[in-house]
Structure formats: structure tokens, C-alpha cells
Amino acid sequence: MSVNINGTTGVSLVQDGVIVTADMASSVPLGTKNKIINGNLGINQRAVTGSVVLAAGVYGHDRWKAGASGCSYTFATTANVTTITISAGSLLQVIEGLNLQSGTHTLSWTGTATAKIDAGSYSASGVTGTATGGTNMTIDFSTGTLSLVQLEEGSTATPFEHRSYGQELALCQRYYQQYGSSGTTTAIGAGVWFSTTQVLALFPFIREMRTAPTMTVSGANWCMLYRVGALSVSNDTTPFDSIGATSARINNNGVVVAGVAGQGCFIQIQVGYFAYLNAEL
């Protein structure tokens, strides 16, 4: 296989002297062509496992959420390709309009599931739909198996575009970020003891999000609050305000052991606790 560049026919793929794909540059989307994020289903920040049962609108694997009737699925990964088997309900991805240009788009995947674009009809791989630039588009999968999901401009499905894990994770983090670990503490910010029971601190996000995210913690004792020579533990279930797309203020009002007003404070999420940032569509 070779590539011919010709002033008349453009860029063509040639195999055994025969043009396989003529004028490739204008007929085949080249580079970051896949509008689906996490089409390989390899990003799973929420760490769903086993038989996944999602209520309507709840997210499982990154960027994939249950439809109006919820969704039940299992999944398995072989040779770095994750396949989801939907047993009930539907699984959706809403594609942000900022990433779409007007025109025909083609949705392709591997597996037995059927899918539709927006208000279309469920069909096998090769579904086409029309995007309006700047307007969100919804991809909707019904029961069956699916992997290697791709939505691209044009009316022709081309081979799946494999992006690097880091690229895919970064794309997902525009919509959802999760801080904390079941195995170690996680440093997230620093600030000041505003009073003996209240800490104010900066929480910078690792990546700018789509919009100011909804923020939750997994429990009132979610973080450790260091002061000079000692530490305390949070006792606050709503410790965030001044939330923006790139940072938030930790306003932790309530502690297990009092601190000292005026001292600096270093903040780490406790082992097994989490902070969730949700800016999904």
C-alpha cells in the first residue's frame, strides 16, 4: 500500500498499482475524526464493575449514561478493547455541540447492538444522521454488544481511530473528574484556618471543565486538614463554594478536632474517600 500525491487526483491510496481510495484527503476524515469520546470504553473513572445497573441519566463508563428507562450492562476487556453487553434499557452519549460541524455524520461500531442518532430509528452499524454545528447530538444504543464506537463526518464509516489513553482521559475530564483513592491519600489544595473550625483553601482542577461542575464528597470525613505539628479531619458534607470551571474554594466548615485560626492548612483526601466533579451534559 502506498500513498500517491497528484496535482489532479489529490492524495490517493494505491495498492498493487490500483487506486484503492481516490482523493483520500477530501473523502476520508483524517486526524481526530472520532466525535465520540471514550469510544473504546477504556476510561472508567467511576470504577463501575460487574453487572452495572444505572438509573435513568446516571453515568457508568465515562461519557456514557443510561437512557430514560435506565440501563443494565456488563463489560469485558480483551487485548485493550472493551466490549459492553447491554441486557436492558439503553446507553447514551451526548456529544457537545462545540465539537460538531453541520453535515452528514456516520456512526459505526463493532457488535450486535443497534443504535440511533437523535430521534432516528435503531439500526445496525453504519447509521447516518445530520448534525447542526454547535448543537448537541445524542447517540443512543439499545440492547446487544458494542465496542469501538465512532462518529465521523461524511457518509462513510472508516476504521476506528485509536487515540492514546492519556488523550482519551483528558477528553473525559472536561466532563467529569474524580479525586481520591482507595489505596492512598490525595493532596488537593492548601489554604488557611479561617477559624478554629473552618478552613478556606484553593482547590485547582487538573483540567478546565465544560462548565462549573456540581461537586460532592463521599462523606463528611472526606479530608485531612493539616496545621502546625498536627492535623484534623473534616466533618462537613458540603465543603465547596465559589465553584468555577478551573477551580473551587474549599470552605470546610466543621472539623473533628479544632485547629488554630491563622495557621496555614494543607489538605489531603483521606484513603477511601472521594471528591466528585460533574460537568456532564
Binding site: R210, P213, T214, V217, T238
Partner: protein, 52 residues
Amino acid sequence: MYKKINDIITNTEENIIIRIIDNACIPKDPANTDYQEYLAWVEEGGIVQEAD
């Protein structure tokens, strides 16, 4: 279902709403889907709890 919260320094209403069921801190950002749901809930007659 939702509750206002005041800034402890200025005692003015914060720029977030608390969703009581899961203690979510929801920013008053029109592009945030949880805030959109909150606004729809208010539009349908929901009464938000005042700050303590």
C-alpha cells in the same frame, strides 16, 4: 429538596445551591445541567429552603 447557603464572611447568599438528597454543591451556572434541573424545579413551584 434544595437549600440556599450563605457566605459565612459576608452573610450574603452564596453562588451555590445545596441539593439535599446527596449534599451536592451546585454552582449557579446556566450551563450546569444540575442547576438547569433546579431552575425547572423552581419553575414548577418548588420551594427552596432558606439558609440557616
